[in-house]
């Protein structure tokens, strides 16, 4: 399918999804749960751009996500700050603008991180990204303006654009972000950039010897991946209404964003989407029926199962069946 057609299809699917949800979902819980699953579609798709397409495992999802969330918290407090410091009155910053700003800041963080760490490979790169998460968390914990370790309360605006309650608005925005991230991932996959990233994943020396500017492409991947993660994090303060470092840097973001593409399949855009829907839904069900404490245990068990049964994820499993069916037929 051509990219332009694919974009049209996923935008149409996104709109239809929101419209149907608004028509038939009356219980707010479904929006809260759906928001989390959609958020994981964005995070796992973003992770897969660097981890799946390029072969660099990033354990710093929490850092990029939280930077997006905290940039929104700063922008939320901005009118109050400008008023008290300079007697300036500005309108509250709209959430879509916060999402763009969160994406830009996290993208810059991705670029900087990439520049400093992309000479590392494998487990060393993964450790460096984990360290990034700790460094950023330490900075936030010691930044009083955003509440430091005690956190910050965010009051949602009284009115939500596009009609309905604020949670419906957040759900709509996260659907749009999911469509955006999936569209970007699919566009990369079939492009010259995607081929270059795959070459890097397969063999970096051979890629460089084939003329692939490996450092530049890796920086593009870290920047895009970081930006999408930041965009996913930007609406978080309005979702949770209380933002604190412990929850915004939660290890679950890093673990889930790795596990979902691994379970779904890392070589295709659909893999992270399947992984996020499957794992995200199971986690939401477990949260309401048993306990949210089980969430990471579920991830661990599923990861072990998939590494044994389907190391290339659900997509790899289906492709294998299809190849077998074609060769038998």
């Amino acid at each position: 399918m051509r990219n332009s057609v694919f974009w049209l299809v996923i935008v149409a699917v996104g709109i239809a999804f929101v419209v149907v949800s608004r028509l038939y979902l009356t219980n707010e819980y479904f929006y809260f749960a759906g928001y989390v699953v959609l958020q994981y579609i964005v995070l796992s798709t973003a992770w897969n751009i660097l981890g799946g397409y390029t072969g660099y495992t990033n354990f710093g999802t929490g850092a990029f996500f939280a930077v997006g969330a905290y940039s929104s918290a700063v922008l939320h407090k901005l009118p109050q700050l400008l008023h008290s410091a300079f007697d300036l009155t500005i309108i509250p910053v709209p959430l879509p603008v916060m999402i763009v700003v969160g994406g830009l800041i996290s993208g810059l963080l991705g670029l900087g991180t990439g520049y400093l760490t992309l000479r590392l490979r494998g487990v060393f790169f993964a450790i460096a990204t984990l360290a990034l998460s700790i460094v950023v968390q330490t900075l936030i914990v010691n930044w009083d303006f955003v509440g430091g370790s005690r956190g910050i309360y965010i009051i949602r605006p009284a009115m939500a654009p596009l009609g309905g309650g604020y949670i419906e608005y957040l759900f709509t925005l996260m659907t749009a972000l999911s469509v955006l991230s999936v569209g970007i991932a699919r566009s990369i996959e079939g492009s010259r950039l995607g081929l270059g990233l795959a070459a890097i994943r397969d063999d970096e020396l051979a890629a460089e010897a084939s003329g692939v500017p490996t450092l530049r492409l890796k920086l593009i991947a870290t920047t895009m991946s970081g930006a999408l993660m930041g965009m996913a994090g930007a609406p978080l303060p309005y979702y949770v209404t209380y933002l604190d470092p412990a929850s915004s840097f939660n290890l679950a973001y890093a673990v889930n964003s790795v596990a979902m593409p691994v379970i779904g399949g890392m070589t295709s855009w659909i893999g992270p989407v399947i992984g996020a829907i499957l794992l995200g839904t199971i986690q939401q069900l477990a949260t309401v029926t048993i306990s949210s404490a089980l969430n990471l245990l579920i991830v661990g068990v599923l990861l072990i199962l998939f590494v044994i049964i389907a190391p290339n994820g659900i997509v790899g499993l289906v492709q294998g069946w299809r190849r077998k069916w074609e060769s038998d037929g």
């Binding site: 010259r192 081929l195 270059g196 795959a198 070459a199 994943r201 397969d202 063999d203 020396l205 051979a206 890629a207 460089e208 010897a209 084939s210 003329g211 692939v212 500017p213 490996t214 450092l215 070589t267």
Partner: protein, 245 residues
Amino acid sequence: MADTLLEVTGLGKRFGGFVALEGIDLTIAKGERLGLIGPNGSGKSTLVNCLCGTLHNESGTVVFAGKRLDGMIAHERTRLGLARSFQLPKPFHSMSLVDNIRVPLLYTVNARHGHHLTDAAIAERCEELLTHVGLADKARRRPRDLTQVEMRKLELARAVATQPTLLFADEAMAGLSHSEIEEIIAVLLRLNGQGITIVLIEHIMSAVMSFSTRLVVLVAGHKIADGLPQEAIRNPEVERAYLGE
């Protein structure tokens, strides 16, 4: 030399306290078929790595097609026309053979000023290159389906896809049978016939002697002989290095 393609002067490379290369002077003319030999650990691959930008030499200068390569990274050198195949084949495992060839066409040929191959031209060139090395019938297969000699041919085809003027074939025949070696030599001779200067780094002396028009011998990071193949192998220093005192 009027038709000099590559000029290396005083090249040196160390790994900590170990001197891998020291004071290497080497000139390669356009269209030459140069054999580069030496015992294991003599610095052949290190020299190729330094010339192709995979490693950075601490001393000396490298001038290729009139341009100084010092500080230039590997993909920039590839785009200038300096290609290599690897001692251990490094195919892009997740891609079909066609996509393996598309990578250099998209990133090297299309990145050169004034060049832009259309999708149709790229597809045509991929087929042409795979036919050239006898892999056209496996174009949609993955590298894991190839035999050792086919893997070596893919490696050469991918290097040639960059449209090089100088190709380093690093042990392109290692582990191959006699008839397979003949196949690779035939491919290399055809490429040389098309105007590509080739440096063959090899341990199989019969292959080197039948292919090369000039021989350079490295021992312990030093160049000890440079000349016609028959003369170079009779050099007393070369005999000592290979056969002992």
